[in-house]
Structure formats: structure tokens, C-alpha cells
Symmetry: C2
Subunit: 189 residues, 2 copies
DNA sequence: ATCCGCATGTAACCCGTTACATGATTCT
DNA sequence: AGAATCATGTAACGGGTTACATGCGGAT
């Protein structure tokens, strides 16, 4: 039933549609409004990705029947199917792999942003704790590495220090987020 | 003369060969030894990339003539040509674009690591200052954005805070690196 | 009447991943 | 001898970027 697994990009699109049905162009605008345009999907990436999701039956274009036999041309608003929502929830629940936490950090943040109101605070806090643990493990590994191996001169060493500094910042952020979400559990809507 | 411009990966390979001639497999081992294996190039990426660089005349296989008519099979050690070294130096001198500093941070760090002993301290410090300025601009933009736009709930806000925190850490690192390299200019070899 | 923004799409091109294939050398 | 490692390569596949094409709707 399921072919190869979804791309990160496809997961993000699907997740965004789970938050709010939208057209391809609407998604584009949302990404454009993102601070500083971290990622600006091109039409050649966006529309084929939506078609792939539709082909899998994870999303569907809302029936906006024109008066004629017009098949709803121009302006296709997609919404997730039940299968799509299930896949999305599964994605949100994907465990944090300590081995790839650095590579996947952006994705994890994306998932965290999409967890609001779909997961109870307990589950969100568990996710953040997993993330914090993975980051702690990663930074510990880096520290061990810098203690042993001494590659080249000062510049590589400083570059490593940079990696250490940013991941420590991520770790501190995760701890801060846990504290903040623990203090005032749910805004009760 | 020049086709399309080089990939980041090609630039990194070229830069690594400028530091020390090596075979494809040697490069692979170097990447493997990198802390936590941030990037593990596959054979299908590595060897074609080296061939492309060779085709452009930026690198060449050292003449290791076997006794027979053996064309130096198995174990091709590459070294940069003069043109390759020139391209590499140009790459190192590429200005830091404030608009893309977040996206290119990893690349900038890579370039910084490769600048040691090829640029005088003055030029290295100028690069770090450019980087710091770009990061300051970026974080300022993020702060402005968070002050104005209030997207969704607490999670997106926290995700933005994360971006702010890591880029502030990068900025602090750049300032620290400037201070450290200014204090003891050159190890004099 | 025209130009610009909305909105969707397609094709060429390039590159990376995965997986496999092939020899030579070294280890057991 | 057989296995693991060194070492280089190739083919299928997939997806993203760039660039172009198209049509509608509202603004000047």
C-alpha cells in the first residue's frame, strides 16, 4: 500500500494542510511570510509534491464545483484525508534519533511547532525531553572528540567550538521551553 | 571557459585537495573522521564530483606510472592545478551575503577552517567581522519580526526563539574568535 | 487596453542516494 | 584459501532548481 516513505518537504506540506486547508499558492505565501525566507519552495517543487500526496490519497482537492463541467480549474484547495491525518500524526510521533539530531534539528523544530494543540502537554514535554537528551548526548560526544583529536591548527578547532556553541544553545533552549511549557500548561483555548 | 559554477561539495573537495593531495578514498576517510559524521559523501557523489573537477582542469591525477602500460589503475591521487588553486582562493574570498548567512553558515565555517595559513590574519579577521555583522543583522531582523508578527500560538514563537538563540550563539562565537585570533596573531609556523 | 499579481503547471538539467559490481591487497 | 578492507566505479531512481508557459482577474 505504501510506496517509499515521504520526503521531509512532503511531511511539512501535509502538516501545514492539517493545520489549515490551503491551495498551493497559499502554501507558497505562508513560506514566503516565514522569517527571512529560510526556505522558499519553487513551483517546480511545490506542485509536484502536492500531486504526489494526492496520488497517495493523503490529501484531496476540496470539491468546489463550478457551475459548468469545469473541474475546479485554477485554485485547488487541498485538505488532508483521514489517511493523511494519520500519517501526519505518525510523523509527529517519530522518535528523536540521537545519532542524527544535529542533521534533523530543523525538522524537529518544525514538528514541535506543529504539535501545539494536537498533543497533550505531557507528550510535548516528553518530546522536548527526548530532544534535550539527544542534544546533551551530541554535545558530550563533541566535547569528547575535541579532547582527544586535535586536527590541524586553530581554525578547525574554532570551527568545532562553533558547533559546540550552537548545539549548547539548542540544548539550553529545549530546557527553557520545557520550563516555560511546564509553568503554564495549557492556554485552555 | 567556465561552465556553470561549482557545487558547494565540489568547492569543499577542491579545497581539501589544496590542503593536501589525496585519493577519492582518502577524502572519504577524512570525512568519516569528521566529528559525528556530519556529512558522509557516498561513492556515487564523490567520484563523479572528482571527475567533474578533473574535466574542468581544476585538479589532476598525479602521474604514478606503473611499470607496464598500466594507466595508473586503482589509487588515483588528485592534486589541484594552478587554475584549481585560483578557483579555490576565489571561493575563500567570496563575500558573506547577509541575506543568506543563515543558510550558508556551514559553508562559511568550512571556508574559515580552510583559511588558516593561506590568508594573513588581517584578512581572516575581516572575514570574521563580515560574518559577525551579517549575523547581527540577521538576529536583528528576527527580533524585529518577533516583535511585530505573532504567528499562531506558543510553539511557533518558541521555535523562532530557537532560531534566535542559535544565531546569537554564532554571533558570540564570531566575536570570541576575533578576540582569540587578535590576541595571538600568528603561531609563526 | 494593458499590465501586474494570482495560480497552476511542465520540461530540461543536475546532482545525490542507494545499491550493486569489480579488482587488488592484506589479514587470519 | 577465504574473508575483510582498500579503492574505484556505474546505473536506476528520485527530487529540487531554473526557467518557461499559460490563463484569469483586477488595477491604471
Amino acid at each position: 500500500m505504501a510506496g517509499r516513505q515521504l520526503t521531509s518537504f512532503e511531511h511539512i506540506l501535509l502538516g501545514r494542510l492539517c493545520i489549515e486547508p490551503s491551495s498551493g499558492y497559499g502554501l507558497k505565501r505562508i513560506f514566503a511570510a516565514t522569517p527571512m525566507g529560510v526556505y522558499q519552495p519553487s513551483s517546480g517543487a511545490l506542485y509536484p509534491a502536492l500531486h504526489r500526496l494526492e496520488l497517495r490519497g493523503l490529501i484531496q482537492a476540496q470539491a468546489l464545483p463550478g457551475p459548468d463541467g469545469d473541474t475546479g480549474r485554477h485554485r485547488r484547495v487541498y485538505e488532508p484525508t483521514q489517511a493523511g491525518q494519520a500519517v501526519h500524526l505518525n510523523w509527529l510521533r517519530t522518535p528523536v534519533e540521537p545519532a542524527t539530531v544535529s542533521h534533523d534539528l530543523g525538522l524537529h523544530l518544525m514538528r514541535f511547532a506543529m504539535m501545539e494543540r494536537v498533543f497533550p502537554p505531557r507528550e510535548v514535554l516528553a518530546f522536548l525531553q527526548d530532544l534535550a537528551n539527544a542534544l546533551a548526548e551530541f554535545t558530550a560526544g563533541l566535547e569528547r572528540f575535541t579532547a582527544v583529536a586535535d586536527l590541524g591548527g586553530r581554525h578547525p578547532r574554532l570551527a568545532l567550538d562553533h558547533g559546540l556553541a550552537v548545539h549548547r544553545a539548542s540544548l539550553r533552549w529545549a530546557e527553557h521551553a520545557i520550563a516555560e511549557l511546564s509553568a503554564v500548561p495549557a492556554p485552555s483555548r
